[in-house]
Symmetry: C2
Subunit: 408 residues, 2 copies
Amino acid sequence: MAVNLHIPSDDAVFPVAGVEIGVTEAGIRKANRRDLTVFRLSAGSNVAGVFTRNRFCAAPVLVCQEHLAASGPIRALVINTGNANAGTGEPGMQAAQETCRALATLMQLDSKQILPFSTGVILEPLPVDRIKAGLPGALKNLSENNWVSAAHGIMTTDTLPKIHSQRINLGGQTITITGISKGAGMIRPNMATMLSYLATDAGIAQPLLNQLAKELADVSFNRITIDGDTSTNDSFIVIATGKSGLTIDSTAHPQYDALKATLAAAATDLAQKIVRDGEGATKFMTIQVEEAKTTEEALQVAYAVAHSPLVKTAFFASDPNLGRILAAIGYAGINDLDVSGVKLWLGDVLVATKGGRNPDYQEADGQRVMKEPEILVRIALGRGNVSETVYTCDFSHEYVSINADYRS
Amino acid sequence: MAVNLHIPSDDAVFPVAGVEIGVTEAGIRKANRRDLTVFRLSAGSNVAGVFTRNRFCAAPVLVCQEHLAASGPIRALVINTGNANAGTGEPGMQAAQETCRALATLMQLDSKQILPFSTGVILEPLPVDRIKAGLPGALKNLSENNWVSAAHGIMTTDTLPKIHSQRINLGGQTITITGISKGAGMIRPNMATMLSYLATDAGIAQPLLNQLAKELADVSFNRITIDGDTSTNDSFIVIATGKSGLTIDSTAHPQYDALKATLAAAATDLAQKIVRDGEGATKFMTIQVEEAKTTEEALQVAYAVAHSPLVKTAFFASDPNLGRILAAIGYAGINDLDVSGVKLWLGDVLVATKGGRNPDYQEADGQRVMKEPEILVRIALGRGNVSETVYTCDFSHEYVSINADYRS
């Protein structure tokens, strides 16, 4: 029951020159399920990544960071579902490295040119033999036209694949941007059990790409939350193959701002798609905090509201029990907040002002907005001029079912 | 479906000399429900309170703080359910004051000698006329034997009343301690939609009682969480009537330590009873964090685990999906946490060590512990020697039902 999650038709998913993808069923946790995906990147591609800050980060995250820091250019990605290879200690590190070595041998690469990714259950040993046995099958169907298949291949509790694809004209050249993401639970800023791969055939110099990946994450994957749980495995990878002929090597390049804005919109769309497919989601909520003194306090308030189970269950019920939002604002941690300066809107309806209910507020107006599948919650703090926006979903019976049954 | 929440039999609930209680049905939100409670305190009683730190704290909380700071001794409490008088701005303040004035007139007191409390829906005007109309009825049945009735009278989404009562011998004198609490949702440290009133016939000097109330809250009501939402109305009130003849005026008094320990145990029991009756609770979990460097980091980890919806749903399912606990430890915010030093036990079962799964861990052992209604989660951080314990419950379908339906 994803909320307005649209899947582009196959002919609207554009291949990115220089990115080939192979997907196979390796039986990692369950049979008859696409669970192993390989990306092959053409020579000249640059790759940058942003990863979870969870201290129990997974073995593949540590290996990715090591390989990205090494000098050899990245030429392949390998992604398995069914097992997160997290909380697996030293044997987990060996399993991630063994996966890279096996693929390196098959592709005639150095194992440091490969980035491994895992998503699924934590604390269980990675079945590395099944992954190794599946790799030849994945390599056999490498194709530039496999983005949709890859979007399926990286799903776990996702109900739908998440794909963004577009072509834009930059200075007379056609540039393609295509990306996929996965994730539906254990989602919160910095970041989530989410994986996302965003590719363009524009060329972007490595130092610039590193910086850009971080900036893209900050406006997209670092602004979504489903359940407040930060995963051990979150990874966001940006690939720039340069095959279009356009190459950007500094922020001063005349096409840089347009490319960055397009990539940011693509990353935001892929991030929002994760929320739209949030576990059990029936509503998509945008929490917009305005008039904050700092980014930090704007986000504190936005996440307090977005994480409140009471707020989330009220949205599930379409019940304008909006005092719960005021309570969340009040406990967000701004110790000198003057509540008499706070305003709260639900959509275009002013609900609270001067520390209490807006005298003109009618419950019927709140009810009307609450019934929509997409809801804007706007909070003005009356303290400054900083705004921040985060995206989240409601909390339903289905959420409990999914997470009480996920493993068993 | 409260978890091991025992209600003492009527003859095990001991009156506290100097505390009379009257309870009535005032029809504040629903008919045929005890929703208005008045305490009358004998001359010589001292009263101290600890309140929510929510910036949107309710009007009655502000009035309580003002009246406690005034010089006139507190002689009565008035508690309504059905409406929190929170998020109500200036009209809410007037409503709380009007309630005090009405009761003051009936009891021939100054309105500053009265503490008002409200619990229920936020953001709706307090029906002060119904409260005023109910007060004579509450006063008519004032009695020292009404503690059980009061425990019912302050309930909202609670399924059971919460009462603690005991007699102890201090230096040859019998001292009575009896208290009640309410709360089942919007519960988290500092504090919760919880109200608690703990009375003793020991006398405790006012400055000492003020300090003691804070210390009692810190080991009890500030160590519980159900949903991570801090309420606008939390209040914990300690009453010392002095009617027993024992009077304690400093921490050096020979009976002080024993009285404090007994009051702390009573407050902890009343706090744990709130968790045992947590909305939809089927499990009672004790999260014990050891070997932390500081109290703050121990609590950070304990609350990250206690608030994680993924952890809470796994406990609901009795599913030892324990990687979710490691993930919560990892994102708790200790940036220099060395995960190789972390140990995790479920009950007496060592689950994780050296950054990964304990090689001897058998899922059947984890499963055995998870099936119990009371579960101890022990986490050793390997960084220092500070321990902290918090109490929480699981997250069930029933939680969503209760909070999606609470108002409508």
